[in-house]
Symmetry: C2
Subunit: 249 residues, 2 copies
């Protein structure tokens, strides 16, 4: 595999590799936790909104054989890089990367998907540091799509009973809940992520179900780090890592 | 103080007493946690929706001097019992108990309240055991008021910037978030209650602010019990109790 300037290959420690380029937004703990949280069965058709470097499709295929994932990415060069990662892992039969806008989702993939996964931009435009690249801005802020766009598009493409898996900042959690209910994707399962025991949660993992009735089950919170800053056993297992690594969330 | 048949006096361990009657729904840990969570300042005017035996007004006045609380209770005999508890504690200048329906709130108290507190019925009608008394049914189920009624009435009676303090089952948490936003009472502070460390939360303490912008802060979860079933130090402090008591949530 020929790499482009600046690119490097990262080992996902699960038998798969991924190409990263520092000029794009690198995947973080949030993507790893989302792929672990998403519960996809063999034979299901999954759409990953804003797939970036393709991390979520690759992790989902590593976890569950026999699924088919379409990763949608609006940035052409990034979509191409994701496609090369798919090829590098020999996953062309399971993963298709498409350069497109999730706001036009029903023109890109057939309706009736079983699952949508999305690790969306968390911040509104105009918030946070402004001195970042356009690539980072698209990944982190609602430049190309808002929360409303994401949930509306997910609702449009899911079959009745299909699931939306999402990770989001707890700061916008009330907004997320209201938005999902408004678009008939009922929150059914929530797992909050706390950086350390006794700290407030900073992320929420959410499973919504298209057209479902009310009632949501919270899981025990996912604790990322021990008090000494090393990963907890659960997170080490998710990351497929040994004892030496420390915390990064 | 003359007690009625079946009534007994309970010591709240904070210098205040309360009359309880087993034929009504007795206050639980949820009411205690809500009163602890509510942040009321001297001079503020508070409305407690569905005050029952008057536990929340009494606890709020015990915690903060110089506030004025109106407790609204739809069941006449229960409102009278709450009024006698107020008198027994010499709190007549701080607490007024009114028998009325919170759905008519603006006909009962002037608009522009600083704070609404409410420990509402958690269950929809038709759910749970049916063989309970009418009194218990009114306290536990949406017989007299729904979640929508509660939040709508709170929104109507609060001043701009006024706060709603509520405790609710996590099972209906998504519904609560959506309902609050719909009625312009923005969730601003959330504390989840977990029965034990590593368990899922079963209650949520929520502060909403009338007319506020988006963005909510989660606090560290409140852990009720240690692994051995005894109360945690924090809950013991909230309950004003010693080392001997065990868990009841």
């Amino acid at each position: 595999m020929e790499l482009e300037p600046g690119e490097k290959i990262e080992d996902l420690q699960n038998g798969y590799l991924i190409i990263q380029n520092p000029k794009y937004f690198s995947f973080g703990t949030d993507a790893i936790l989302l792929a672990d949280f998403a519960d996809v069965s063999a034979g299901e058709r999954v759409i990953d909104f804003g797939t970036g470097c393709g991390i979520i499709p690759i992790l989902l295929c590593a976890k569950t054989k026999g699924i088919h994932v379409t990763g949608i990415e609006i940035q052409q060069a990034l979509a191409r890089m994701a496609g090369r990662s798919v090829a590098m892992n020999g996953l062309e039969k399971s993963i298709r990367i498409v350069c497109g806008d999730l706001k036009d989702i029903s023109g890109i993939v057939p309706c009736g998907a079983d699952v949508v996964a999305v690790n969306p931009p968390y911040e509104k435009t105009g918030s946070g540091k402004e001195n970042v690249s356009e690539h980072v801005n698209i990944a982190k802020r609602e430049v190309m799509c808002t929360l409303e766009d994401v949930v509306f598009s997910a609702s449009r493409i899911l079959r009745p009973g299909g699931r939306l898996y999402m990770i989001y900042r707890t700061e916008r959690f009330a907004e997320l809940m209201a938005c999902m209910r408004r678009h008939k994707v009922e929150p059914k399962r929530i797992r909050l992520v706390v950086p350390k025991q006794d700290r407030p949660p900073n992320f929420a993992l959410v499973e919504g179900r298209k057209g479902a009735g009310g009632g949501v089950a919270f899981l025990p919170s996912l604790v990322v780090c021990e008090q000494d800053g090393t990963y907890t056993q659960e997170v080490k297992k998710i990351y497929h890592i040994g004892e030496e690594n420390t915390c990064c969330i």
